[in-house]
């Protein structure tokens, strides 16, 4: 099982902050992005293709090439604007 979390504009645009995906190894972040696009449709494909998309795996910034393990928490969000 993978947990996928979305924040800020991504969460609003895609209408969910968290979802679970069945696990199928081996998978990279890029594979999961493809899967989400295939099952979620155009809005998901566009949101996850954004050039400034930030990817985090288990609370650390990561990349599309990152290999995932069962139980990982994957997050997608726009550039941060705190402070």
């Amino acid at each position: 099982m993978l947990t996928v979390r979305l924040f800020a504009r991504l969460r609003e645009d895609l209408g969910t902050g968290e979802l679970s995906l069945g696990w199928s190894a081996p998978a990279t972040v890029g594979d999961v992005i493809e899967r989400l696009g295939a099952q979620g449709g155009e809005a998901w494909r566009r949101a996850l293709a954004a050039e400034n998309l930030v990817i985090a795996v288990n609370h650390s910034v990561s990349s599309r090439e990152q290999v995932l393990a069962d139980g990982d928490e994957l997050a997608f969000f726009p550039p941060v604007t705190g402070g």
């Binding site: 800020a8 609370h59 997050a75 550039p79 604007t81 705190g82």
Partner: protein, 160 residues
Amino acid sequence: MLTEDIDAGGLERWLQREDGGVGAIVSFTGYVRGRGEGGDIQRLWLEHYPGMTERAIGAIVEEATRRWALRAVAVLHRVGELGPGARIVYVGVASAHRGDAFAACEFVMDYLKTRAPFWKKEFTGRGERWVEPRDSDEAALRRWGAPGGSGRPDAAEGSA
């Protein structure tokens, strides 16, 4: 991460805490502006990523402690709904001399703005909008010798 007001005076006392080695405290307090790019701001919504935010701030403080001789560091950030004039963030740094405290305080703020997962949404009379990151914030970060990038929080371990 706080949902109530930030007590800047109490934090300064905590930073000093009868530590004879503290000769300087520099602090920064960020406030909600009354006017934004979208007009008069009625309220601000602060979203964060629980767990990752604490970890990112911990990594930033750890890096500051590695670069400068610091006696204590306090970082507090509000989340949730805030009105104009409310404190959003407080960074306080205590050191023996002012140079380290000034530099470290600015460093922590520059990193926090571009690396800690927080997002601001403004509500004005004309509607709501997510605040866009500013190029000047990334430019501020590069002064510290950080690699350029896209608003990415640090990955190192640490505690807030």
